[in-house]
Amino acid sequence: MAKSSKASDRQGAAATWLLVAPALAIVAGLLVAPVANTATMPLTSGRAVALYQRFFTGAFNQAVTLRTLEIAAVTTVVSLVLGFVAAYVVARAPQKARSILIVAAVFPLLTGTVVRSFAFMVILGRNGLANDFLQKVGLASAPLQMLYTEFAVIVGLVYLFTPLMIVSLVGVLENIDPDLSRAAASLGATPGAVFRQVILPLAVPGLIVGSVLVFTGSFTAFATPQLLGGEQQTVLATLLYQKAMVSFDWMGAATIATVMVVITLLVVVAMTMLARRLNPATG
């Protein structure tokens, strides 16, 4: 009896694996194997050290890497601030207004990155809304060159990722019991102290999830820097594309790919560890 149940267990386990197998095959065959293959391309070339050395010591590549990190960091901080303000108000809004505001925040997310970046080409262009406005209020006498600057890329990425930040934060902020802030205030805490000592610590999990999504998203973004930054503001993603599709330097592209994967994974792991340390529920 015991034997047959063991056999049926094994049969059950086999059936379970059979159900997972096709999905596993897709991820393993189309992602893990090809990406591993890309990552090992520089390593098995026999000149891995030289390739990475050249990448990290080349002035142009250094500038691109630093620019990409800077753009991602600034985008994360700005969308964190904007997202927090919006999410805080949304979380405290009456039920009906809250659902409308959440839908309004999600709608841009459903519109593609190309369309949303294109919107800023219209706004930041020489005859665009921003230049019209600056000239009308007298802040500029001639149209400013705003497109193809780091500023344009950051604005575009903040626009792209603020909704993601709002969505990550609303859930966390909603769950903070308003009685806690009331209790702190009744004990004499100033609004600033309530914010710093009650709300902010409790919002940490959402802040970290949102920051990871925004940082990795803007660090690896392609369409926005391509459209709003052009060649003047090359970032790692657009450089990878250029190497792969324009100059057909696949070894160079693979080197950049490895750098991008390593930095992305490092950020995710570091932020997850930080989240575990700061999370009031586990710490």
């Binding site: 997972v20 999905a23 805080y88 294109f118």
Partner: protein, 261 residues
Amino acid sequence: MNRTHPALIAGAAVVYLFLLGPLVVVVGSSFSTTTFLTFPPQGLSLRWYENALANGAFRASFVTSMQVAVGGTFLALLVGIPAAYAMARRRQALPGFLGLFFVLPILIPEIVTGFSLLRLAAVQVGIPVLPALILGHALLVLPYCVRVVGASLATFDFSAEEAAISLGCPPLKTFFTVVLPNIRSGIIAAFVLAFITSLNDVSISVFLTGPGISTLPIQILTYVEQFFDPTVAAVSVLLMVLTVAVMAIVERTLGLTSFTK
């Protein structure tokens, strides 16, 4: 104290203006009679819509986008639903890292995935453009399918399935008549999310589109790099309308409330 500070409300209003304003700019500039992009639009005309609809490249890329989004999403659901089911039903029989494994397509930078798939499809295996795009998009949307269907299964009471089986219903029939109808809203939500993600994808498609075959976002990208007239604004508006239509159909048939369940 309970009331939100007016300055915060004003701040949130500015953020929302920033989020929705640019979409208004795109819609507005698509109606302009000028040959360059401007907002507020000068005059009112539909010529750029005519131009967009008459453009063969946009039309062809729209068809490709639809084929890829439908094909990729179906494929992802086809393999994703059984996987999500197995993970919900027999968690103990499967290793814990499996959940993380299915998030990998989101975790690995898309641009790296795209480049790696290019090498696989074009060089190592030699798959034609359209099937390569469908496979790439299936991979891209698989995490959403597994997670949304999985969330739906997490609230499903499997004792209903056991009851059916103990009453003599074959397992496969039980799955289709008992389990599947109960996770219907989750599957539809996964479909919509996956479909929209695929329809908007750039980073993977940009490597896999070949001569003569392009998806709509890639075609827009190419067009914008050459011309700067309101045609692209018109195409963008049509794409937005399509997104809204998909959402509206879901809302009508299911209600957005069942969407969040």
